[in-house]
């Protein structure tokens, strides 16, 4: 082997397993869903092409309007809740103290549970008659919505905390030492050093939360089944209902394709607006 190949970039073959995995489990199914969105298919006989009928239905469906609004609301609420809590917890957990390390380890436990297990757990806790609160939280529209936001947060905040913890530990101590000499207090240090230094981390975490919220499903299915009425029927749930309750896989695929497009568009937008791609190092000049 010559030295030339060793210093060069890794061969494209190295990417093959990843590319194949992505192709089989993401690209092919997405392409199929896109194809199915132009057909009518009941899951039993063969799909029949129907042109744009499903996409037309997507525009006309009154439930779609409600669902879209709920999805946007859920995404925004989840982002606000998870970002604030995870950021504070992450920065706190980044400290060197022993007790923080122990507590952080405990905080990460929800990360080990599956979404279904988490949702079932909260479903039992929120049972209106035999749960711990014995209040009908899931029976009111706002209660059910907030419960979904909360359970989602409970499950995913540990993950984002981990990201923020890592980010906060990367911030050089000299910055804080310099600030302390200049007389900056704790809060000033947080807002003038920690927050700006975590800018890249915030964007990474935001993209993950936004895309995650757009495809949020199991918790809704288990906690509320889209209820009361249809007041928590977000897009992924509407898609499930169209596919696996009404067996209208064509329409369900149209909703799925719309979600893929919306999520992709939104993440690209976020990255572009934040200038993430061309972002300069937060440690310029150090």
């Amino acid at each position: 082997m010559s030295t030339r190949t060793r210093v060069g970039r890794p061969h494209a073959v190295w990417a093959l397993p990843g590319v194949l995995f992505f192709a089989f489990f993401a690209v092919v199914p997405m392409a199929l869903a896109f194809y199915l969105s132009f057909t009518t298919w009941d899951g039993l006989s063969d799909p029949r092409p129907v042109g744009l009928a499903n996409w037309q239905k997507l525009l006309d469906d009154p439930r779609m309007t409600q669902s879209l609004w709920l999805t946007i609301l859920l995404t925004a609420a989840s982002w606000a809740f998870q970002t604030v809590v995870a950021l504070l917890l992450g920065v706190w957990a980044a400290g060197p103290q022993r007790n923080r390390a122990v507590l952080s380890a405990i905080f990460f436990v929800p990360l080990l549970l599956s979404s279904t297990a988490v949702a079932l757990l909260f479903y039992a806790l929120l049972d209106p008659n035999f749960g711990i609160i014995q209040k009908d939280i899931l029976g009111s529209s706002s209660g059910a919505f907030l419960a979904i936001v909360f359970v989602g947060g409970w499950q995913f905040i540990p993950f984002h905390t981990l990201i923020y913890q890592g980010g906060a530990r990367q911030i050089p101590q000299v910055l804080y030492q310099a600030a302390a000499i200049d007389g900056a207090g704790r809060y000033r240090q947080f807002f003038s050093i920690t927050l700006p230094q975590l800018r890249n981390t915030v964007i990474t975490s935001t993209v993950l939360i936004v895309v995650g919220s757009l495809t949020y499903f199991e918790t809704v299915l288990i906690l509320t089944k889209g209820g009361p009425g249809t007041d928590t029927a977000i897009l992924p749930y509407l898609m499930y209902e169209a596919g696996f309750k009404s067996y209208d896989f064509g329409y369900a695929s149209a909703i799925a394709s719309f979600l893929v497009l919306a999520a992709t568009g939104l993440s690209l937008l976020l990255v572009r607006l934040s200038g993430f791609g061309a972002m300069r190092s937060t440690r310029e000049g150090m």
Partner: protein, 448 residues
């Protein structure tokens, strides 16, 4: 109907190709948590030795377990050269799991269903074995079941299923000790029912348990009210495909009565988040927090499984009351005549499947159903009722069904695919998200 498409010259992928390339298309686009749906569905078409049977996995599944164990050891199984593997699918997932499995290579050979509308799509896709000739040529099957029940699962006058569970009329259950304590009698008229509600509420007891988050327990109220108000013809028209049938005054009146009950607190204020399937509503009822429960006859075996003392000592039952001014016969019944086994037309071992179906006509099978508290739909059921754990309940059910001038199949099962959007509208009505008038208007839009 079947394997190839002939759609206006357009090139289409075949179903098999789609399934083969990525069965869980929708799921993988964003729902990794649901992949359990597509996997682990058992042997299916594989070797002829073992065939798979899908069954609704609730408390009553013991009878099918015993039946399968007995059949696998029987001479009939040896003769047909194989055994049956029972796959119990949890209740709320049964229909979607069956649907996805039936379109895939791991389809069950024999499967539980509700007959009628619930299997129409399978029949149209050529997935069902027509059992008409098999039944007519076989005295065990032909004479083994009550003819009306056998016929209730028919499609276009052809048999596609063998009755395999008890009769499931919807019954008004009540807590005898709560009723005795407050000196109440089960209602025979609607006015009496409202009167009882008022008394119970004064005593701080919720009149009715209701598993509203499942929706179908709410549906039972509409089914009975529409029947009592306008007779079985009202829904028959809807079932026959005339969505304008929802405009019948009986539907609007029933919806208004539901709204009155809800507003009046007849179901308490938490029912929209209580589920029957997970045991919430049965527990509310068994623990005396609610005094009555409108539910299918399986409520007895459910309570026997979860709260045996309550089922044996305090559980009372009555027919749904008469509604003053209505034209429906008070003896009419709604619910499911029974459940059926149907056979996948592509099963590799048809003889084995049919031999297995015959076990459902056996006395041993009927005995197992009786022991569980169910009333079989076999022709020998009447003689077995005395040996039931609760002969009084068994005879009540049997007479109720025998004497009913009409037995209306559960609307969601009868309507097939339209059942889900109908559920949505019913859920909104009960949750107070739509008015009775809006409910009727929305139902009229339920068309294929």
């Amino acid at each position: 109907m079947g394997s190839t498409t002939s759609s206006a010259g357009g090139r289409t992928f075949s179903r098999r190709w789609i399934l083969g390339a990525g069965a869980t298309t929708l799921l993988t686009t964003g729902l990794p948590g649901l992949t359990a749906c597509g996997s682990g569905s058992g042997a299916g078409g594989g070797d002829g030795g073992t065939i798979t049977a899908f069954v609704y996995g609730d408390d009553a599944v013991k009878v099918q377990e015993a039946g399968v164990a007995r059949f696998n050891k029987s001479a009939a199984a040896k003769e047909a050269g194989g055994t049956v593997k029972l796959e119990k699918v949890p209740g709320s997932d049964y229909s979607p799991k069956l649907r996805t499995a039936m379109g895939s290579p791991s389809a069950p050979d024999v499967f539980f269903n509700w007959g009628g509308g619930s299997i129409r799509a399978y029949e149209e896709a050529g997935k069902l074995l027509d059992l008409t000739d098999t039944i007519n040529n076989d005295p065990v099957l032909k004479d083994g079941f009550l003819p009306s029940v056998l016929a209730a699962g028919d499609l276009k006058g052809r048999h596609y299923g063998i009755p395999m569970r008890g009769m499931q009329p919807v019954i008004l259950f009540y807590n005898k000790s709560v009723f005795a304590e407050h000196k109440l009698e089960p209602p025979t008229t609607w006015d009496q029912l409202l009167d009882i509600n008022a008394k119970l509420k004064r005593a701080n007891i919720t009149p009715f348990a209701l598993g509203g988050s499942d929706i179908w327990p709410e549906l039972m109220w509409l089914e009975y009210l529409v029947d009592r108000l306008g007779g079985p013809e009202v829904f028959q028209r809807i079932q026959d495909g005339d969505a304008e049938g929802w405009g019948d005054p009986a539907v609007l009146k029933a919806a208004e009565m539901v709204k009155e009950l809800v507003d009046d607190g007849a179901f308490g204020d938490k029912f929209t988040s209580v589920s029957y399937v997970n045991g919430g509503a049965p527990a509310v009822f068994a623990r005396g927090r609610a005094a009555m429960h409108l539910m299918g006859s399986w409520e007895y075996s459910t309570q026997l499984g979860k709260f045996p003392d309550f089922a044996k000592q305090h559980l009372g039952w009555a027919a749904f009351p008469e509604v003053e001014g209505g034209t429906g016969d008070v003896r009419n019944v709604v619910g499911n005549p029974t459940n059926y086994w149907s056979v996948n037309s592509r099963t590799p071992n048809k003889d084995l499947a049919i031999a297995f179906l015959k076990d459902a006509a056996s006395e041993a099978y009927a005995k197992d159903l009786i022991d569980l508290g169910d009333v079989p739909t076999t022709s020998n059921a009447a003689q077995l009722l005395d040996s039931a754990p609760n002969p009084e309940y068994a005879k009540f059910q049997y007479d109720m069904v025998q004497q009913a001038p009409a037995f209306t199949l559960s609307w969601d099962q009868a309507l097939g695919e339209l059942g889900t959007p109908m559920h949505t509208e019913i859920g909104k009505l009960f949750a107070g998200k739509s008015s009775p008038t809006e409910f009727v208007a929305a139902c009229k839009e339920l068309k294929k």
